[in-house]
């Protein structure tokens, strides 16, 4: 390995550590939110919604969270968990940009666009 390659590799190691932090914070935050929702549901014995239903849009989830509805809080937690790897992709875009690697900034942006596209597919596939 040449010196330049070694330097590049060390930079990547630093980026990977930042990504590690993002993943940890994301997982812990979402787990805490999900547990709060579950405990609330167990204590009150209610979901906050008619039997068999739950919120699946941003608007209804946030309204439900504001009203302390257990299932809305759980859905928020589950969404945060899904968002964790997405956040990992966003951090990588920044990291590759900082490193001046244009090719990988584009590759990572493509991955992010595909993930946003998935959201749209979910919405229309209801």
């Amino acid at each position: 390995m040449t010196d330049e390659e070694k330097k590049k590799h060390d930079e990547m190691t630093e980026i990977e550590l930042v990504i590690g932090h993002v993943l940890r914070i994301g997982v812990i935050t979402s787990a805490v939110v999900i547990i709060i929702g579950l405990v609330l549901a167990l204590i009150t014995g209610e979901t906050g919604y008619p039997a068999g239903t739950f919120p699946t849009t941003f608007a209804t989830i946030f309204q439900g969270v504001a009203a302390f509805k257990p299932f809305a809080i759980i859905m928020l937690g589950l969404f945060l968990l899904i968002l964790t790897p997405v956040l990992r992709v966003v951090v990588s875009i920044y990291a590759f940009a900082k490193e001046g690697d244009k090719l990988y900034v584009w590759i990572t942006v493509i991955v992010l666009v595909i993930l946003v596209f998935a959201m749209w597919i979910g919405y229309i596939g209801k």
Binding site: V27, T84, V86
Partner: protein, 282 residues
């Protein structure tokens, strides 16, 4: 409701512990339990399972990141293929009849048991001389990692990028369709097709699982296939279980346990497969 939440958290805990010990994702364990033992609709089981894949992937990646074995460029480039495959898979799950999903899931389990057996029999030699193709140079995929066991830095090259990319599309499709991490397919793509060493292949595969599962999970989340009362206790159970499992793992003879587990996986696979054709046991 309290009962079912506690049962599902227990299932998650069990799947998390054994998933970590056997080196497979929780998804392959939870879906058969939820459908065969608890009688849940397979579509909701898949929706809940994909959430648990994200939980375990993120949890395990943190450990791998510290060991400096990931190849971030390989992961990012191949994620283009896995995420597109995963979205397609998630759409197919909504359209395909449940019995087809049972048959496919059964086939996946049978394949996985064969794959585990194959891995036990052949010990792979690391760091062979690989001829990199033009694409891997252009995409800067060749890298290096520190081997803890041999205490040395290993440089490696990547070959057959188009082949690996196609295999990854298949891995993504399976992941989205059946709510599993499809780690086995991802490792085959990197280790067998692209000739990467096994350790960075496994670490990179684990990181990719999270992003791949996020693509299908978003589809499932917004179309209502992820039920909070199923997915939430399961995810928490698996997170806790995977943490416990990876601790226990250090004190166990993993090879012996895997040998016991292989026929179990095969039999569950056969059961799922036959359920798809209307044959039920127990």
């Amino acid at each position: 409701m309290i009962n079912s939440i506690l049962i599902l958290a227990g299932v998650g805990l069990f799947a998390g512990i054994f998933g970590a010990i056997f080196g497979i994702g929780g998804g392959m364990i939870v879906t058969p339990i939820m459908t065969i033992a608890l009688g849940l609709d397979i579509k909701y089981a898949i929706g809940a399972s994909v959430i648990s894949v994200i939980a375990t992937s993120s949890g395990a990646s943190i450990a791998y990141l510290k060991d400096d074995m990931l190849n971030l460029r390989v992961a990012m480039f191949l994620e283009i293929a896995t995420t597109v495959g995963a979205i397609l898979g998630a759409i197919l799950t909504g359209v395909l009849p449940a019995k087809v999903l049972y048959v496919l899931f059964g086939m996946l389990l049978i394949f996985s048991s064969w794959n585990m057996l194959h891995k036990l029999r052949t010990s792979k030699k690391d760091a062979e001389d690989t001829v990199p193709d033009e694409l891997s140079e252009k995409l800067k995929l060749n890298s290096t990692y520190y081997d803890q066991a041999n205490k040395k830095q290993v440089d490696y090259k990547v070959s057959n990028v188009p082949g690996g990319f196609s295999m990854m599309f298949g891995a993504g499709l399976a992941s989205g369709l059946l709510g599993v991490g499809s780690g086995a397919f991802k490792v085959i793509a990197m280790d067998t097709i692209m000739k990467m060493p096994l350790k960075p292949s496994s670490a990179t595969s684990n990181l990719m699982m999270g992003v791949t599962a996020a693509a299908s999970a978003t589809v499932y989340f917004f179309n209502g296939s992820i039920k909070p009362e199923i997915a939430a206790p399961l995810a928490i159970g698996i997170l806790l279980g995977a943490t416990i499992g990876s601790r226990i793992m250090q004190h166990l003879q993993a090879t012996l346990l895997r040998k016991i587990f292989i026929p179990v996986l095969f039999l569950i696979g056969l059961q799922m497969f036959l359920k798809g054709f209307g044959v039920n046991f127990g």
